[in-house]
Amino acid sequence: MLKIKNINKNFGRLEVLKGISFEIKRGESLGLLGESGAGKSTLARIILGLIPKDSGDIFLNGQPVDYSIRDIRKIFQIIFQDPYTSLNPKIKIGEAIGEPILIHKILPKNKIRQKVEELLSLVRLSKEHYNRYPHELSGGERQRVGIARALSVGPSFLILDEPVSSLDLSVQIELLDLLKRLKDELGLTYLLIAHDLAVIKYICDRVIVIEKGEIVEDDKVDKVLTSPSDAYTKKLIEAGLG
């Protein structure tokens, strides 16, 4: 479905991404593992078109992706890492979830509220959350709002940028279960970014490991866990599971 070819990105003199290439099949969940500073979030933002790439190509179903078209946002969506800062404190939950529907004119205005309520129940929140502000919600609830908001435009490809790393452990599992269920129900494709292999193992079948802007591993999660081919991956696994 998505093909990334030879992506490069520098910030000034710093080479953040050095020739990244990989492919994601429709319906697949691909994990992206690496330490902070490895270039994971930069890659995510390039795929979303939030920042420009220096060179390389991104293909969607064989066609080069044109980020100047706003409709691309209806296909690619992202769940952000920190649910405390990724929701606007002055915008009510209901409006935040309905906003993408409104600006992409997916539904007429009077149908939006109903759709938002459906989305709320899809992520296991109640209708009462509609008129709340983000600060009245817990971290887990906010992250569900983030998910509902991303799903409101009916995307087929979701980037999950460390979606649970700022939450409590018990809430993490709840959310990962929700993400798993949504993927099956809606037939989504995931790119899950994490620095913790356990999180990736929970959702993904395949994992890519990047170190200093380069891919050092690309294999089935189980295989990487049991017999990593790269010394850096070994180090990450030991740090995460030891």
């Binding site: 979303l48 939030l50 706003r70 946002r73 209806k74 969506q77 992202i78 952000f80 890492q81 920190d82 800062t85 990724s86 929701l87 606007n88 404190p89 002055k90 915008i91 906003e99 993408p100 600006i103 992409h104 983030g146 908001r149 991303a150 435009v153």
Partner: protein
């Protein structure tokens, strides 16, 4: 709210509310027509004329009430013009950065480099003096502080993750600026509005005092002071009353502004 624990700000608020009510109700409260000569000139304050009469024999209490209407309106409208202009320019400057930012900020520097009272005077001399021109001129020469302030807020907020989230769902720049960032930059803007209104009232008084602001016979606190110049010792109430009203209004605005600032900076 913490502002209600701040006694000084509360005092300022009470004064402003009182003056606003008086200004609105002026036609019902004022015992005399403010422009009508009803009595012999320069009578000292008495029961019949609470604040005395002026050099033409007009009731100063009535004139002060109607003057409050003019002075408060001019102060308010001017500062609103300045805040709207400053907010829009500051918002674009801070949001887009780069060349847009450089152009707008150099323009701000140029405007600030002019001694603004002379700029105001020059424009006022060229235009026909009227209350509307006063408001526009004050507004057009006092937006720079707001622009800088709003730019700073935008520079800070545009890096926050909910702005990136707005971009990720496909919001246009205008929507991000006005729907996502501006509401989160509103508190310091409100503080600036309050403090700016104090400045606008002072400028209006200065202009009217020089005869370039609100034109007689319409009373404003500034032109009442102008009328009082020649009677500083013979009829001191003519200058003390409008002078005190300007002083207490500006002071109250500063008290409220500082109270709000404290509240905004230490939530």
């Amino acid at each position: 709210m913490k502002i209600f624990n701040n006694k000084i700000a509360l005092f300022g608020m009470a004064v402003l509310i009182l003056f606003t009510v008086f200004a609105i109700l002026a036609p019902f409260i004022a015992p005399y027509n403010p422009s009508e000569i009803i009595e012999s000139d320069t009578l000292a304050p008495s029961i019949r004329h609470l604040f005395g009469t002026d050099d033409l024999g007009r009731d100063i209490f009535s004139r002060a009430l109607y003057g409050a209407r003019i002075s408060l309106t001019v102060g308010f409208i001017s500062v609103i013009i300045a805040v709207i202009l400053g907010t829009i320019l500051g918002a674009f400057s801070g949001y887009y950065g780069g060349l847009v930012d450089s152009i707008i900020m150099r323009f701000v520097d140029i405007m600030l480099a002019f001694p603004s009272i002379f700029l105001v005077l020059t424009i006022q001399v060229m235009l026909t003096p009227s209350i509307y021109n006063v408001m526009i001129v004050i507004g057009l020469t006092s937006w720079m502080g707001v622009a800088r302030l709003v730019r700073g807020e935008f520079l800070k907020i545009r890096e926050l993750s909910y702005v990136e989230a707005a971009r990720a769902i496909g919001c246009s720049d205008l929507r991000i600026i006005f729907r996502h960032i501006l509401p989160n930059a509103l508190n310091p803007i409100i503080v600036a509005t309050t403090l700016g209104m104090a400045g606008a009232i002072l400028t209006e008084s200065a202009l009217s005092f020089l005869g370039l602001g609100v034109q007689p016979p319409t009373p404003s606190w500034g032109n009442m002071l102008m009328d009082a110049q020649a009677y500083l010792f013979d009829a001191p109430w003519m200058s003390i009353i409008p002078g005190f009203l300007i002083f207490i209004t500006v002071l109250s605005l500063y008290f409220v502004g500082e109270g709000l600032r404290e509240r905004v900076e230490n939530p």
